[in-house]
Each structure stands twice: as C-alpha cells, then as structure tokens.
C-alpha cells in the first residue's frame, strides 16, 4: 500500500486545529484571570502551576503527559510488529495506579511541606546529600530528553503523512512549542490538555467503531490479523518464552512511569493529596483508551496495511479508512497530543536544572524559560541531525536509568534508615550494570538469563533495579544511616 497525500482539505483541518491550540496555550496568561496562589512566587507559578490544579485539570494534565502522542504512534507500531506481545503497555498502565495511590500522595505531602518541585529536591531533603541530589537530577534530565525528541518525531510522522516534505514543518512545530511553553509555563499544557484529550478520544473512538465495521466485526478483525502474525502454540496468545518478558516489562515500566520529571511535575502540581488519590481512581479511563489504541496495530493488519516502517502504521490506517478531512483531524490530534507532554517534559527538565544542577534553587523564572528552551533545542537537534533510532535507543536507556532512582525516591519514604552513601552506591552500580547489559544485548529491553539450563528473557531495567536494591541493602547493613536531617536545605 502506498501513502497517498490526503489533499488540501486534510491539511486545512490539520492547520486549523493545531494553530488554535498553540494560540490558546500561548495566550493562557492573558485570558486566565491572574490569581497566583497565596505565597507562590513567579517561578513556582510557571514551573508548577502554583500547586493549585484541581481534580479535573490534574486528570487532563497527567493523562495528557503520561499517555503521549508517541504512545499513539509507538504502541500500535509494536503491536503491528509483534502481535499480542505489544499489549504489555496495558497491564503496565493498570498496575501503575495502585502504586500511584500508595506512593504519590506521600511524595506530594513532603514536597508541599518543603516547597519541593522535583524528585531531586525531595531526595536532597531526605538524605541531605548533594552528590545524591545531582545523581537523581541527572537521571531525570537524561531520561526525559529523548522523550521530548520522540514527541517531535511523532509530529514529524503525521506531518509527513499529510504529504509535506522536508524539515520546515518540523521547525514550525518546534517554534510553536517553544512559544507555548515560554509564555504559558505549566498553565499552557494544563489548560490545553483537554483539547488534546477530547480530540484523541474522538479519533480513537471513531477508529475502533468504524474500522471493525469495515472489516466485519471484532471477531473477524482478530482472525484476519492473526493470519498476518506469527502463530502462537495451541490456545496461547503469546509466543513461547514471551510471558516473562511481558510481565517484567510491564512491572518495570510501571515502577518507572511516575519517577520521570514530566509525570512527577504533573503530580506535584496537584492541589492536594486527595486530588492525586481521586486521579488514581479516574486515570485508568485513559488506560481503556490505550487498550483501544493498541488494537489499531491489529486493525492495520486486518485492513491490509503493509509497511516495513512500523511507525507509519497509524497514519496509513487512518488514511486508508477515513475521509481525508477526518484524517486531517486525527493527525492534528496526534500533533497536539505531542505538544502537551513535550511542554511538560521541558518544564520538568528546566525545574531540575535550575533547582538541582545549578544552585539557584529555581528562584529565577527567566533562567527556567531559557533552560526549557535549550532542552527543546537539544531534542530538535537530535531529531534533525541524528537519526530517529538514536532517540528511540536513548529513550529505552532512559527508562532503565530513571528506574535506578526508585530506591532513593520511594524506598527513602520507608522508616528504614538508608544512608546517602548506600543509595549513591546502588544508583551507580545499578546504572552502570544495566547500561552495560543493554549495550551487550544490542539495545534491547530484555536480557536473557541462563538459570540452570533454563534460558529466560527478563526486563533489563528490572534486573538492574534488583542489583541496585541489593547493593543498597548490603551497604545499609554494613554502614547504617545516621539520623536523617530532613531540614537540610
């Protein structure tokens, strides 16, 4: 199947929706009645929305930056390529919520009391260690950068599907994103997230209703898709040996998900701990949507889409099934869907740099704006001058690295007195060990363990985390932590 340019109507619809969102987000400070929360300074208002987002804004914001545009492209692409295995995103985004419910309100309370804005702030307060603070900040920064690059790639994918050649459209998208973040701060993605979400819901619901009708119902769709994919044994849905990678990838992704700067920024910007608990109940609605989005990968097979470039599966499917104006709308949904998380990611990264890596403690909103701009420029350079595979590989490693901040951030909440030294040692060994394994395996997310003649692939990130926690435990037993100084600034 060849990609046909969908014509001017699709392009006009696309530009209309994209431009409207940018305009709305950039001017948020004008049309929003200006009312900074009491005691919130200007930089806290820019970088954390003044910590006053209620249930619905938090729902749209976290939903908008956790389920990114890249997800809409990448999850169906993986399902298209691997079949049922690609669905591990579903258990991942279910089990993450009990975790959010138990852990995030505690982190929020600590952050609120100490006016912390980042994971590294919280760790510094808990352990009073500057090196550990830097370690956590660097993990966050390096993990989030390729994520921003992937959002830009998401925008480029849909622009290319609209038939626009060259890099100019990408640069236009980038400039829009930069203006939007610079002017609006966290308020821009927070208040435009609802546009993105409604557009994505419309696009996906239309897809999951219209496409199976075209293909003769879900049973027929699953049956046709199965003919294009490797056949599992017997009554199984997964191929032999895929069960353990499926479960361990779901678990490691779930543990890492809310350690990222962008997701944590969304959580810390909530108004209260109960806002977060309410969201742990409400956010699974997006997971349902994600499950349907993942189905698009199977529907593409059933609709006869054949491509070796799996990231264009979703655009090709939309073009094949929908009238061109609606394809334009769906592409705009993906592009807008990339802006929201990319803005939150850049802000999260800026918070880390200005508060934890530089020592200004984030008082200067000008510096935060410049850093957020620099971070996005880096992501753009990565997309323009290095290939997309580089961003994808780095994002994989980023997931492994961010997971190594789990002990300091989450185990640090328990009553056990871990020392800063133990945490730092665990972080170093976990990060180095995981990175080494990942390179040895040719940048794959799983590593094959040989246990007594039994070969089993396991999530590399999870292995590294186990090693990390093991080191922390041993070091803590050998050299117990002193009484923690929670007031160290």
């Amino acid at each position: 199947m060849t990609a046909q340019a969908p014509g001017p109507v699709a392009l006009i619809v696309f530009i209309l929706f994209f431009a409207a969102t940018i305009l709305l987000g950039s001017t948020v400070s004008w049309w929003r009645a200006h009312r900074p929360a009491h005691g919130a300074d200007k930089s806290e208002d820019w970088g954390l929305g003044g910590r006053q987002f209620g249930t619905w804004v938090t729902w749209f914001l976290v939903g908008g930056d956790f389920y990114t545009a890249y997800t809409v492209i990448a999850v169906p692409a993986l399902v298209y390529a691997t079949g049922a295995f690609g669905f591990f995103a579903l258990p991942y985004t279910i089990i993450v919520y009990p975790f959010v419910f138990l852990v995030m309100p505690i982190l929020w309370r600590i952050a609120h009391a100490g006016r912390h804005a980042t994971a590294a702030d919280i760790v510094r307060a808990r352990f009073g260690s500057r090196p550990l603070e830097l370690a956590i900040a660097c993990s966050g920064l390096v993990a989030v950068m390729p994520y921003i690059a992937l959002q830009l790639i998401g925008i480029r994918t849909v622009i290319a599907a609209l038939g626009l050649p060259g890099e100019i459209p990408l640069i236009v998208a980038f400039v829009s994103l930069a203006a939007y973040t610079w002017l609006g701060g966290l308020h821009a993605p927070a208040l435009t997230a609802f546009i993105k979400d409604i557009m994505i819901y419309i696009a996906v619901l239309a897809a999951v209703i219209v496409i199976p009708v075209h293909l003769g119902g879900y049973a027929a769709m699953f049956a046709t898709a199965a003919q294009h994919l490797p056949k599992p044994q017997g009554n199984h849905a997964l191929m032999a040996g895929q069960a353990v990678p499926y479960a361990t990838l779901a678990l490691s992704s779930a543990l890492a998900a809310f350690l990222y700067p962008h997701t944590l920024t969304g959580v810390l910007a909530a108004r209260s701990a109960d806002t977060i608990r309410k969201n742990a109940v409400m956010l699974p609605a997006y997971t349902l949507l994600l499950g349907l989005i993942a189905m698009l990968g199977l529907m593409a097979h059933a609709a006869g889409i054949v491509t070796t470039h799996s990231s264009s599966v979703v655009p090709l499917l939309f073009l094949a099934i929908f009238p061109s104006w609606f394809s334009g709308f769906c592409f705009a949904a993906v592009a807008v869907g990339a802006l929201v998380p990319a803005a939150v990611m850049a802000i999260g990264a800026a918070n880390l740099v200005t508060r934890n890596i530089l020592t200004g403690r984030g008082q200067d909103v000008g510096a935060a704006r410049i850093v957020a701009f620099g971070v996005k420029l880096g992501a753009l350079a990565c997309v323009l001058f290095l290939n997309a595979q580089f961003a994808i590989d780095l994002q994989l490693l980023g997931g492994l690295w961010i997971l190594q901040t789990f002990p300091a951030l989450v185990l640090g909440l328990t009553r056990i007195r871990f020392s800063a030294g133990a945490m730092l040692l665990g972080w170093v060994i976990g990060t180095v060990f995981g990175t080494y394994l990942c390179f040895q395996d040719g940048l794959k997310p799983t590593h094959v363990l040989a246990l007594g003649g039994l070969h089993q692939a396991v999530s590399t990130g999870l292995l590294a985390l186990v090693v990390n926690i093991g080191v922390v435990a041993v070091a803590t037993v050998l050299v117990p932590g002193r009484r923690t100084e929670t007031t160290v600034a």
Binding site: I94, I95, P98, Y218, F222, N235, A237, L238, A243
Partner: protein, 59 residues
C-alpha cells in the same frame, strides 16, 4: 485497615502472572480472552483503589 491495602496487590497478581490469561478461548464479544481479561482489569483496579481509599478514610 492496613490489611485492606493488601487488596491493591490483586491487580499485580492478576496481571503479572501470565498463566492466568495467556489464552485465546473463551472469547467474549469477539475479543480473545487475552484481550478482554486485561481490559476487564481496568475498571476493576479503579474500583479496588476507590474501595481501599474510601474504606481507609472512614476508619
């Protein structure tokens, strides 16, 4: 009420132990078991979290 929190382990058990659902049949509304089982855990987890939260808050 600490005991109630153990209910939050159920989604982990139900979804990380693949022998529970790595199968095609029985299918439901055209969806193979593998898919509808996992989709069913979405509202179920939501309800469990709600239950633990509300019951926990009352005590």
């Amino acid at each position: 009420m600490k005991m109630l929190r153990l209910a939050l382990l159920l989604p982990f058990l139900g979804l990380l132990w693949l022998p529970f659902y790595d199968r095609i049949e029985p299918s439901f509304l055209g969806f193979p078991f593998f898919y509808w089982y996992q989709l069913a855990w979405v509202p179920l987890t939501s309800l469990l979290v709600l239950l633990v939260w509300k019951k926990g808050a009352r005590s």
